[in-house]
Amino acid sequence: MLLSNLPALQVVIPLVSAPVCLLLRNPRHAWACALIISWLVLAMALLLLQQVYTLGTISYAIGAWATPWGIEYRIDMAGALMILIIATVGAVTMPYAWRNIQHELHRKHTGVYYTCYLLCLTGLLGIVVTGDAFNLFVFLEISSLSSYVLISLGPSRRALTAAYQYLVMGTIGATFILIGIGLLYMMTGTLNMQDISQRLPEVADTRTIRVAFAFVTVGVSIKLALFPLHIWLPNAYTYAPSVVSAFMAATATKVGVYVLLRFFFTLFGLQFSFNAMHVGEILMLLAVAAILIASLVAIFQDNVKRMLAYSSVAQIGYIILGISLATTAGVSAGMLHLFNHAMIKGALFMAMGCIFLRLGSVEIHNMHGLARQMPWTMAAFVAGGLSLIGVPLTAGFISKWYLVNAALTDGYWPLAVLILVSSLLALIYIWRVVEAAYFHLPGADMHKVREAPASMLIPTWLLIGVNLYVGLDAGLITNIAQQGAASLLGQALQ
Amino acid sequence: MFIAVSAVLLVAIALGLVRAFRGPTLYDRVMAANMIGTLTVLMVAVLGFMAERPEFLDIALVYVLISFVSTIAVLRVYASRVSMQGSDRK
């Protein structure tokens, strides 16, 4: 009975636990509650993935109302993969959060932090599983509002301005999406994504639908920080508490990408999005710009969190590049990179959190000789960095390999060169940190710095472990990504 | 007939808007907002009769209450600020 209601419970359980967390006055209890729920969510995500793997796409009618009237939950392979990413990152960051939050947040905020974290988790999961366009907007707002709060809790006052900037841009993005959904509804008379996609061909050739497409695309692009609309991201990730940076970098923008995929392939359809609207060319151009410019900017950052944030913008470029090819190979490479990048960035930001805990700073010029004091943390950073660069035997290599292959199949050989060049850029910015930590003489106060606590190191290494595992044996995850891509594109081709 | 009344109400609202734009003091604007609130209440009531749906009166009732409370709130919030400044000066 509970198993058949898994899609709803997947979202509802974190939702219910959020108010419970607010009621628990003792921060330790709130943390314990959030921890249990996070791991429960991960367990459910695995069960759900297994169900989708065996049974195919799951549809769940909330309130037992038939589809165009009620709200439908619809989970295919791509969705299940997304849920797995969110749940994994959520479950891994939670044990890590305790020390980090104790350190970086004002004491009176620690209780609220867990509430907002659970709400954010709810929102992200809700976006992924829903099959209803407006419901997507609602859960998008839940995740956005809670992430504004989470970011604003950061230790410096600039966290406030970063959160404000994100709030303004995020709300513009959400309102654009709302306008787009409104126009779609106006022309089709329905909000269910499947239903819209079936009714769309009749009216696809109208100016209204084209505008709806444009607004949804721009709105989602703000949320996923596509290149010229990324300006909220560096500040938000730099000034948020480290665990929030790790969680958001690994999930929020990824969910944005997933929403874009849903709209392009499931809702509007491949034909309309790529052949009629030529979104592929535009996306490819923006992706190339993102990869090059953001990587270049990342090189010149002294604050490593900011550097990683710019690197995120570049990595989103890779994912979008894969999608812009609009082939099964391209999309599956994009999704694979989506998974890998979530693991890499999560781990890297968590390593930064460890460093911030002990060093009180994440600036390169303060890290001289750090490797001797915090060998495990720096080793994690190096491992993650190698994966980010795309060195063989790491996860980053796998996804870049598939990406290059997909590009070459379509005859876009300059893209392959581009990926190589940008990997070099990544090498440079990672190297700057490595150089400072391993090859510079330690500063005067460096001997006081100790290794990070196990409660933070182990989660970091867990994600690094996933990275290395995928690098060695990518079969399972590649298979899931390919199935996800096929289900996205296959629906479109029907 | 209802049309005539609602037309007059609209004109009155427009005149109130002019006062809200011209100010010159905050109080003039609050006063204009309060008056527009009253006019809106009447407008909703008249519209309800025009559409032959007198259920609309619930909305009118809410408007009366809300516009009253928000007028008072504006004045109180602003007054506390003025008295604050006053104490600063001393």
Binding site: Y148, A163, V168, I172, L178, I179, G182 | R53, E55
Partner: protein, 118 residues
């Protein structure tokens, strides 16, 4: 002429939306930006409600003797959206209050200057 009347609502609503949007992106004052967002969102609500209207229809509360009702679904969506807009406004303003306390100003340009000094 019918074209004009048929789309009048939508066009004005678009002008309203753009007014709000302009305030958000052009004005440096943080409070005014939030107000701009509020106007932007409220105007989108009018767009939705306009599309729900049926000529000669009445409010979707079923009653004997009435047959034409306006579309209830956009109303429901907008009820939700109004709540979202309130939540955004409240959070945005709370952030402005905190920024004011931390920086002593609520002007974006001044905040940039202070941030660069850091």
């Amino acid at each position: 002429m019918t074209e004009l009347l048929g789309h009048y609502n939508y066009w004005i609503v678009i002008i309203l939306m753009m007014t709000g949007f302009y305030i958000v992106i052009a004005r440096p004052n943080l409070v005014k930006k939030v107000i701009g967002l509020f106007i932007f969102q409220t105007s989108v609500f009018i767009l939705f409600i306009s599309m729900a209207k049926i000529e000669g229809g009445t409010a979707p509360i079923i009653e004997e003797g009435l047959s034409v009702y306006s579309n209830p679904l956009p109303h429901v969506l907008i009820l939700t959206a109004i709540v979202v807009s309130l939540a955004t406004t409240a959070l945005g303003l709370a952030l402005v209050v905190r920024i004011q306390e931390a920086y002593g100003t609520s002007n974006e340009d001044d905040i940039h200057v202070q941030d660069e000094e850091d």
